[in-house]
Symmetry: C2
Subunit: 278 residues, 2 copies
C-alpha cells in the first residue's frame, strides 16, 4: 500500500506522467469526497498508472447551488485512494491553475447535453465539458473512467471526446449502490435519517417504472407513474422521470432500441439522480 | 524535393505521425488555396516533420459568405508544398471526417474573440476555435504556426490553447506582403484590376493611421481618419479601423503598452483585413 503522490500544477502533472506514459495511463476525474463508487472506478482502470483528479469545479455550480457546502477532505480522499492498492497520482489543482486570469474558453455540447439535467441546471454541462476537456488535455490519458451514475454526463463526455478527437478512450462504469439500492453519491452525506430512508426508494421506483414500461409499452404513462410514486414515497419534488434512447438520450417512443430511464428528485434541498437500463 | 504524403482520416494521420513524434512535429492549419504567406509559415517550422492541414471549414462561414466560391485546388496546393523542400504530411479530411453524424460540440472563446471580426461575423471564431481544437487534437503537434494576418484569430487560438492546456505551443508568423504591401490572402484572387489597385492602399492607410496616432496621441481620431481615408481611396465600406492592446485586444487608450491597429474593409463583395504593430 503506497501513499499516492500529489501534484497541484499541470506542469508538475505532465512531468510526473512523462516516465509512466509508455506503460499506459488511466484517469478518474472527480470532485473529491471520494466514496466506494469512485474507488470502483479506480479499480476498473486497466493501465498501471492511474491519475485521480480532485477539483471541485466552480463553473458547474449555479449561484444558488452547493459549491461552498460541497464536502472537501483531501486527506481523507488520499487515505481512501491508498486503500485501493493501486499506484495513484493525485492531481489536485487550485482554481487559479485551472482558470488563470483572462480565461475565456467554453466548451458546449448539444445532442445528449440538451434537456434533462440542462432543463434544471442550464450551465452545468458547459462547466463539466470545459473542465473535463482541460483535465483530459492536461494529463492526456489513454483511458478515462466516468460513472454511469451521471449517465447524461457520461454521454456528453463521450460526445465531446469523439467530436474533438480527444486522444482518450472514455469508459463508463456501473453504478455502485448501498444495500438498499441507493446510488452512492457525495451528496448522500446531506441526508439525515428520514431523508435517507426516502432516498432509498428512488432506485426501487425506477425498477417499477421499467416493469410498467415493459408491461404496457406506454412509456409516457410509465414516466408519469414514476413521478407520482416518487412524490407518494416522500420526495418533495420531482425534476424528471424520463425514458430515453440509451445512446442519444432522444425521447424513446418504443423499446425496440436500448433505452434508459433517468430521474432527478429532491428531498428538502438535496437533489438526487439515478438511472437504469431498461 | 519530395512529394508530400497525403492522408484523409484522423486515424491515418495519427498512424503516419507516430514514428515522427519523437523528432518533433509542427503543424500549419490552412484552408488550402496556398500562397507564399502559407509557405512562409511552413518554412518557419523548426520541427523536422510538418503537418499541413487543408480543410475549408464550413462552420466558420455564414450562409451569405463565400464558402462555395472559396478557391480549392488540392493538386496545386500539393505542388506548392513540394516546392518548400520540407518533409510534409498533408492532412486533407472531408467534412464527414471532421463533423461526423451527431457532432454537437462547440468551442467558444470570449476575451480576444469579442468585438472586431465578431461584430461582423458573429459565428466565425466559434467555427475557427472548434475546428482548430479538433485539428490540433488530431495531430497533437509540438508547435502550430498561424499567420499574424489573421491577428485576432491568432490571439483567440493562443487563448484557447492556454485555457484548455493544449499540449501545443502556438507561434505567430509575420504577414507576407505583395510588392505594394497588400497582405497575401487567398481572397485576393477575387480582386480584378481596379479593385486590386484599391486593395493595395489598405496597408498604406494603416501606416498613416499609426503615424497620426503617434503624432497626436488621439487614438480615436486616428481610427476615424483611417476609416475616412479608406473610403476616399476607393473602398466601398469599412467594417472597422481599431487601435487595440496587442495582447488582449482591449480598446487602447494610450500607447504606453504594445498596441496594434486592425482594419477590415470591403471592395464590392470582397472583404479584406490587415493589421500592424504600432
Amino acid at each position: 500500500m503506497t501513499a499516492p503522490a500529489i501534484v497541484h500544477t499541470i506542469s508538475a502533472l505532465r512531468a510526473a506522467l512523462a516516465p509512466l506514459r509508455a506503460g499506459g495511463i488511466a484517469m478518474v476525474p472527480t470532485m473529491g469526497a471520494l466514496h466506494d463508487g469512485h474507488l470502483s472506478l479506480v479499480r476498473l482502470a486497466e493501465a498501471p498508472a492511474v491519475v485521480v483528479s480532485i477539483f471541485v469545479n466552480p463553473t458547474q455550480f449555479a449561484p444558488h447551488e452547493d459549491f461552498d457546502a460541497y464536502p472537501r477532505d483531501l486527506e481523507r480522499d488520499i487515505a481512501a485512494l491508498a486503500g485501493t492498492g493501486r499506484e495513484i497520482l493525485v492531481f489536485a489543482p487550485g482554481a487559479r491553475e485551472m482558470y488563470p486570469d483572462g480565461f475565456a474558453t467554453t466548451v458546449t455540447v448539444g445532442g445528449p447535453g440538451a434537456g434533462l439535467e440542462t432543463d434544471f441546471r442550464p450551465h452545468f454541462f458547459s462547466g463539466v465539458a470545459t473542465v473535463v476537456a482541460k483535465l483530459l488535455l492536461a494529463a492526456l490519458p489513454d483511458t478515462a473512467i466516468f460513472g454511469e451514475k451521471d449517465y447524461q454526463q457520461l454521454l456528453v463526455i463521450r460526445r465531446l471526446a469523439a467530436d474533438l478527437s480527444l486522444p482518450t478512450r472514455i469508459i463508463g462504469a456501473p453504478i455502485a449502490r448501498e444495500a438498499d439500492g441507493l446510488a452512492l453519491s457525495s451528496r448522500n452525506a446531506y441526508l439525515d435519517g428520514r431523508a435517507r430512508q426516502v432516498a432509498g426508494n428512488l432506485n426501487k421506483v425506477l425498477k417499477d417504472v421499467i416493469a410498467r414500461a415493459h408491461e404496457t409499452g406506454d412509456l409516457r404513462d410509465a414516466e408519469r407513474y414514476g413521478a407520482e410514486t416518487l412524490k407518494a414515497v416522500g420526495f418533495d419534488s420531482v425534476d424528471y422521470v424520463a425514458i430515453r434512447d440509451a445512446e442519444t438520450l432522444a425521447v424513446a417512443g418504443t423499446l425496440d432500441r436500448p433505452a434508459r430511464v433517468l430521474a432527478a428528485a429532491r428531498i428538502g434541498r438535496t437533489r438526487l439522480i439515478d438511472n437504469m437500463a431498461l
